[in-house]
């Protein structure tokens, strides 16, 4: 029959106590939803000890690639019933004497696990859009073979400017470009579109489509607007319908 020493040894294999510069990192028996074990930090001197997860709950969720949002309010409401607080995304216990250290480690570890579960319940993986491809697909759906790709237009500077898409409409040519939120992309689209706009020809109708799921500087959008009509991708289908009707 198995004896308790063998069981204890097996369970203790899971635990560890690692001395760091400012305290001891304790591996608990509590488990995050990922099946990694919760670790907490114990800091302090002879009479008072400070125990925290050092942001472990948030970090565990973030490490698998979830797009993390604000957590302070949610974490606080989750952990306050246990007398814990949240600071800089870490779950922290009030200072406890030595006789409270063990129990507080267990409370902090379980709160950290709950907070991590909350992150998995509320945050998602970001789906990066391959913006140019998504736009190309939309244009293909809307205009089919009518849309010409990589069309050159002679600008006012006498330089050939290249546009991603051109759609002939009666005596007009609708030029559509995409732009990414980086200086090279912004500058090149401004130059090409301004050069054609400076022809002051009624023949060309110009649109620049930008991905409004990305973060944009207001100044960049202002500059782009000087060169062409700018269209957030979320409105592109509606705008293109208008072009189709024309």
């Amino acid at each position: 029959m198995i004896d308790e020493a063998t069981i204890r040894a097996s369970l203790e294999e899971m635990q560890s106590y690692t001395r760091l510069e400012d305290g001891v990192r304790v591996t608990t028996h509590c488990m995050y939803p990922t099946n990694s074990l919760v670790q907490v930090m114990v800091r302090g001197g002879k009479e008072e000890f400070h125990i925290a997860d050092d942001g472990g709950a948030l970090r565990e969720a973030s490490s698998v690639g979830l797009e993390i949002g604000p957590v302070k309010h949610a974490f606080t409401s989750l952990v306050k019933k246990q007398g814990l607080q949240v600071s800089n995304n870490a779950i922290i216990a009030p200072a406890v004497p030595i006789e409270g250290v063990g129990a507080t480690i267990v409370i902090v570890a379980n709160a950290s696990k709950e907070a991590c579960q909350w992150c998995f319940d509320h945050f998602r993986y970001r789906r990066p859009r391959k913006f140019k491809e998504v736009l190309a697909e939309l244009i293909d759906q809307q205009f089919g073979d009518q849309a010409k790709k990589g069309v050159q237009v002679l600008g006012a500077s006498n330089k050939q400017q290249v546009f991603e898409f051109a759609i002939p409409r009666d005596d007009r040519l609708v030029l559509i470009d995409s732009v990414m939120p980086d200086p090279n992309s912004v500058n090149s689209r401004i130059v090409a579109n301004l050069d054609v706009r400076n022809l002051k020809s009624a023949r060309y109708e110009q649109y620049i489509v930008y991905d409004d799921q990305e973060k944009w500087k207001a100044g960049d959008l202002q500059l782009l607007r000087m060169a062409a009509d700018i269209v957030p991708f979320s409105s592109a289908r509606t705008v293109f319908r208008g072009i189709g009707a024309g």
């Binding site: 488990m31 302070k72 998602r124 993986y125 990066p128 859009r129 491809e133």
Partner: protein, 180 residues
């Protein structure tokens, strides 16, 4: 699930790789800036289709950890379908009892990989697994800390997932001071 099998098996390339400049410091809501990230979209067999828009390699780095730690995540269909976690040696991971003790150990301490083949049994007809509960230790060649361990783990992971590794040499961001 068959979609993930085909995705993993297909040759893939990373889009927009330029080098160490791809790291982006993540500013959290309290201004801690606790981690760095790289997000590279993935193109399947050279044809980038909108339906693959969720496919990406997301790298999360913690340059201030001693030693440094990082996580490689292959995302597809709104889920993590494979991963590699470079962790502290005292950090255990428990394998789910649906597989532990068969061809994977009950527990792992330190760095490990979550492979799709080990975890696909966790998928259901309608959903990919929320967590990859089964992990394996990294091969010995990746176990030691060295200056190029980051790029070696990245290359190994890319090879495992049929991704053409980046041609640029990648390193972890340098440690940063919190007292800025």
């Amino acid at each position: 699930m068959a979609g993930v099998d085909a995705f993993i098996a297909a040759p893939k390339t990373l889009l927009g790789v330029t080098g160490d400049g791809d790291w982006q410091r993540q500013e959290d809501t309290e201004g801690g800036g606790l981690e760095y990230r790289i997000v590279w979209p993935i193109s399947v067999t050279g044809v980038a289709r909108a339906t693959d828009a969720g496919a990406s390699l997301v790298i999360v780095g913690h340059p201030n950890d001693v030693p440094q730690t990082w996580h490689l995540n292959l995302l597809f269909g709104g889920a993590r379908v494979a991963g590699l976690d470079v962790e502290h040696d005292d950090r255990p991971h428990s394998n789910s009892l649906r597989r532990a003790g068969q061809d994977v150990p009950y527990k792992i301490k330190g760095s490990h990989a979550h492979l799709w083949d080990d975890n696909k049994h966790l998928a259901t007809l309608g959903a990919l697994p929320v967590h990859l509960h089964i992990a394996r230790l990294l091969p010995d060649s990746l176990a030691t800390n060295s200056s190029n361990r980051f790029s070696r783990t990245l290359y190994w992971f890319c090879e495992q997932q049929n991704i053409v590794p980046p041609s640029a040499t990648l390193t972890m961001p340098p440690r940063y001071s919190l007292l800025v």
